[in-house]
Symmetry: D3
Subunit: 230 residues, 6 copies
């Protein structure tokens, strides 16, 4: 199959659909790969890196025109949708629910679009969404710790405290992939972490995983908003 990797054009998107390592893997399995010039610049991978492992470098127009399958990161922008065509496969994050314009554009193009976030494994998991959730959960605590610094307008709280000063309390709502990864970072920084979830099975898994370093609490209306209804 001829696989095309255009450069991402959405604002603040530095990623690329396929790293040179992934390209090499696909070529190893008998595919051909067409990469837009400098598609990997945002991760400091350049045309020579892709050429060295066997990819062909091309313009965006060529990538869309020739590829059997287009592999991207973000949902296609209007000028990208205009280049898609019937018989072609688009493989990327789509997040169509809040974006009917995109959905109509894809329908009109005739492309076969497969959204990463909807691919399921045999256990019903979402293997292509999970890594993003892992990153999100880990970054959430890093971002929160940063925002608590007084110089950032925060309350001047260090998550782990220091010996003599009690650690900060971190409450995580939901013990799924995001919450689990956030918990791991918050525990790692020494915070006093509680996690709320409505699944006892999930809470048991987290209690086992973090062995006494986290409070796993069944979530109810009353715990989230402990004021009487009146």
């Amino acid at each position: 199959m001829l696989i095309g990797v255009p450069k991402e054009i959405k604002n603040h998107e530095y990623r690329v659909g396929l790293t040179p390592g992934s390209v090499r893997e696909l070529i190893h399995h008998g595919h051909q790969v067409l990469v837009e010039s400098e598609a990997g610049a945002g991760i400091d991978m350049h045309d020579q890196d892709y050429r060295a492992i066997g990819a062909e470098i091309a313009s965006a127009e060529q990538v869309y025109a020739r590829a059997d399958m287009v592999v991207k990161v973000k949902e296609p922008q209007p000028e990208e949708i205009a280049r898609l065509r019937a018989g072609q496969v688009l493989f990327t994050y789509l997040h169509l629910a809040p974006d009917p314009t995109q959905a109509r554009g894809l329908l009109a193009s005739g492309v076969t679009a497969i959204a990463y976030e909807t691919v399921t494994d045999k256990h019903g998991g979402l293997p292509l969404l999970a890594p993003m959730s892992e990153v999100a959960g880990r970054l959430a605590v890093q971002a929160g710790a940063h925002c608590l610094e007084m110089a950032q307008g925060g309350a001047g709280i260090l998550l782990g405290g220091v010996p003599g000063v009690a650690p900060a309390k971190v409450l995580i709502l939901g013990g799924g992939v995001v919450g689990d990864n956030a918990a791991q970072m918050a525990i790692g920084l020494g915070a006093d972490v509680s996690i709320f979830d409505k699944s006892l099975e999930r809470l048991r898994h987290l209690a086992d995983k973090y062995e006494g370093r986290i409070k796993c609490v069944y979530s109810t209306v009353d715990r989230i908003d402990p004021k009487p209804i009146s």
Copy 2:
């Protein structure tokens, strides 16, 4: 040296000054040991056990009359003080401070009394008191957990909770040997443990030891009794 081990006569004292293993050690180092008949019954060690490793079994009278050093557990009771004599060494817990009657009795007897609780090592530690503090700290949590059972008139609280139910809070005042050992058991049972101490050095040691599973807080009047003076 002839070492004597009388049977403890204080109420609820089941221990004995020397176990057969300790007696064997002393004999191995050239001493002779005289054990009162059934002195070790409370720990299920009997005369044949002491005889088998070389001790001589005798009456209480003989033990006190012949021994160069008397090794006991508890402070001597009045009838025991009456048997002590000048030139003899008494090695046991004394806790003289609140017990002037005992102090006067020992003075009158002429015995050389060495209190376990005052023996110091080269670092200023109390090596013979520490094991009792270790036991005390560990038992304290076991006793507390028992008293929290509803059937014992407690609040029906399980220290570690279960997944879904937050653990109980345990506050330990003082991070010395007793507090450290209590903390270890409370953490082991899954409680949410805080320890207060006035020594930052000690809090640092505990924070290192329990790596994020304990809150080490500097103790002030304000933290113990957080109401305003007014």
Copy 3:
């Protein structure tokens, strides 16, 4: 649905079918809840606590007469069975196997009785029984440690020992939910824990969970009773 919560009348039962937090949750989801006066007294929750979150307080007669579903803790006692009626749902622990009198009473009443201990989840687990097993396993070790105290007639053994004295041996037969929770507490108290099970899969799970702090042994007649048959 109108949900009724009678006060438990079985001896030594201090629990209540629904806590105020659970009642609030049900009201939040559109149900009405009728609570017998002082049904929650055993957990220190009183009529005003239930009223504050929207429950109605009533007599036992009213609760049984009006409720579409009765939520309890223990199996209904004879005077409770007498109040159940056809068309009503009873949701509680029943443990019918050893109790044919209760079974006949429920049949005669025409009630639809759902036993907590028989509710299964999609993996074949018993989600309403598991928390009781967790509590049972954790309390078992706490009770055992208490019974080993010499003052309770025990052998005077401290599960974890202290440095210098080897810990006590704890043998757990069966590595299910009860055994796993018992192991967790026994390990937490510092004991030398072995667990026997006939499922290698379960032993692998426990070996992974407790990483070298437990001995996971395949159970055979020979290990449980190592004397020759002769």
Copy 4:
């Protein structure tokens, strides 16, 4: 059923199909067991040990002639195949794939042969192969550590280093049962361990299990052989 346990005759095989404990288990469940004389000598279990728990001792001829099922360790050697017969069950490791001679011999004998390595559990696992993989993974690191000693012709590397000297790098290809067990030993010896696998699900499991003490890396052609194709 009459179960027969012949002595293993393959070179360097010290194991035996059934230990006395397993024999006792089978007898407890109503079977009869016939053990070849000194079949267990390699594990220091002798005829009296098997007789004591109810087994009958016999010659190899008798074991093969009388047993309904023969339980062994290694694939049958030519002289063993000659003794198998139709209507008999053979339960042992076979590893037939590279051994057509054995396969033809078994077919000719009419025996019903069940290979340990092909028995699957309800999750698709290989319960009788897994313990061998566990042993293999654990021994692999032990053997590797030994071979790295200078006296064995190795590079004189101690896996864990010592404080001041960085630990050795251990790379494990594949995070299945063998790789997981090898990782556990290598981590235990203090090495700097990386594990490569093509299953993100498996890598997540290992990352959770070893909490920051292992590097879990997605395996690609590029990581195994990082030179450009050119």
Copy 5:
């Protein structure tokens, strides 16, 4: 003693010499405390909080004029030095080495100045400097993690990676209080941490503390700058 707490006037300094809890402690031990109006505003502690536990609120002039000892955070600024006087004690961080102007000002004022950073304990440690080093080490990793985000101009590296992606390498130069605390946070975030120090004793302490989750390496010119001298 009459202790005075002026409001810090140095730029970006939000701390205060004494929190209400510390003031209460001093009053409990028989001292009087004079706090400048709103000295604690930066930590959200206001005049009523200090008055409630027995402090007197005053102007900066009064604090300096009346106090026997002035307790501050930062070194005195020129207008603060002008208010100090002979017979008064100043207790604050001074860091005089690079600041001869301040040193001359203090000498001229006749004040007895005690620098927090020079107070030593009986082991030669710096108990008043250590907590700042603990905060510095912990914040260093938090700041570094933030700066590595692509949105901050960093390389887009997440310290802990995620399963499948190897963690980032963190190198800490010096295993003192700052380095130890930085290591703790970096390990907690899942990084691959190495620490260099010239003290084997310190490296042993860190190796024991972090048990295989850190590489403790003896530091030499060659390791820091591994190029040949030529």
Copy 6:
């Protein structure tokens, strides 16, 4: 100072007195270093590696003749002693106690010999001996595990067992540096480790360090040889 590094000539000694990194360190501090040709061959460091960082390569004769200080690994062999001279410093392991011939040779040579194993630090520790003890303790368990393999004539025991099979028992006599490092490896391999020592202080340190993964037992004649004296 001119420092000389001869090639080790004792049988089975592959080490060298100074690695290139150490040589560079010494040159950085103003010394000159003379290395015997191929002194580092056993650790795969060759003349060009030493030359590249500024060392001079010479014959053994020159090294001994010119060096102010000779840095070695093993005690000098007779032909080496013959080359030492008054005014020269020899820095190496000597272990003179069982080797009066060497002692007499050194005395006769007039050299100032400093034995690594006798250098003490300010706490009374042996900083140059400790790393050898660390290596010894770690290798001891590796060697023991190897010897327990059946193929080596051992009992066919895997230290950690596998899930279902209890781990092997490892008893370590003495909890000093060697014992502590042996314990760390044995625990890492999953064994059931007990350590005996006569110092309660040391046992407490080990109990804290290994948190429930080791049995720390006070050592007596009775525990080592539990038979009665008779």
